[in-house]
Symmetry: C2
């Protein structure tokens, strides 16, 4: 899985607690590339620690819960490096929005257009967020130095162009529907198997 390696990668940059990883790294920085559930971050950290890829040390705090700071180990660094070097299969496509669109032939043209409009809005707001992030300084956790920051900025660029492409497609599709789709053939509603 990627979460494990993503966490190792972040720990390689800076020792951190599960809370830091979740809020600073995943919610703020890597959220455009990989979202992570809080419970899973903690569970993954524990597993990493069991397997000797990370080590933790508790720092007591007054007034707040103790911080359990995780640090990558030499073994963890080796695992991260191995992952970075080894060939990874392309992630299979999995787009609920397009699945829905493809199966929407039972809806009227107007309903399909509404579906597109709704998705467009959401993609647009995602784009706005991405652009705001691109204008803002790179979060510490995303770019430890200039090299890391540059890579992060480049992935932001990838996310932006991907999102723009989707929006453009939605616009084309909407135009196509405005011209009128072919009508559906009458299909039987119910009968014996």
């Amino acid at each position: 899985m990627s979460l494990e390696h993503a966490i190792l990668g972040f720990l390689e940059r800076e020792p951190m607690t599960g809370y830091d990883l979740k809020t600073r790294c995943f919610d703020d920085a890597a959220g455009h590339l990989w979202t992570a559930d809080q419970a899973q971050v903690y569970r993954t950290l524990e597993r990493l620690s069991e397997r000797g890829l990370a080590r933790s040390r508790v720092f007591p705090q007054r007034g707040k819960p103790d911080r359990k700071v995780y640090r990558i180990t030499t073994k963890g660094r080796a695992a991260l490096d191995g992952w970075l070097h080894s060939a990874q299969p392309l992630a299979p496509v999995r787009d609920p929005f397009l699945v829905r669109f493809a199966l929407a032939d039972g809806l009227s043209d107007e309903e399909i257009a509404a579906l597109l409009a709704e998705a467009r809005e959401e993609y647009q707001s995602r784009l706005d967020t991405l652009r705001a992030d691109a204008a803002a300084p790179v979060p510490t956790c995303a770019g430890a130095d200039d090299r890391g920051s540059e890579l992060y900025r480049m992935t932001l660029g990838a996310a932006i162009s991907a999102t723009r492409t989707v929006i453009d497609w939605i616009d084309d599709a909407t135009e196509r529907i405005r011209q009128g789709l072919p009508v559906a053939k009458q299909r039987p509603t119910s009968e014996g198997v």
Copy 2:
């Protein structure tokens, strides 16, 4: 989940067996939008049947295992329709390739370029497949009639432009790296926690 509804959508077009769904629908047609594990298709069909959204009937065959043909029920049609009409949240982004790229600041420029080249090849072959599919007639299971076929062709177009965008980004990124990335700051390799 989407698989459940995708299956209902396919059954709405034509009654089918789990095998048909897996091979004809998911592997051949919808594979660009949603991949499905064979075991999960069967399990989902069973669950659909338990919940009264689909019904099955066994057709004995000689020489081959019996066909268990599933057919969508009125209740299933209602569920599908509800899903098509209800607002769906955008899928969270989850791109292992970009995560890897973002965390690759420990690698040399050449190694990062190699990583990109490798991904480019895979995306290119995905693009070739998509283009071949776009040139071929729409599979029966993807487009039951002209309306369905048109929607399917449009989603193919979406997949093609998305893939092209990624490839373009990879080319830009490669060019950027050829110009030389900033060097990494020296980071401590090991020390006390």
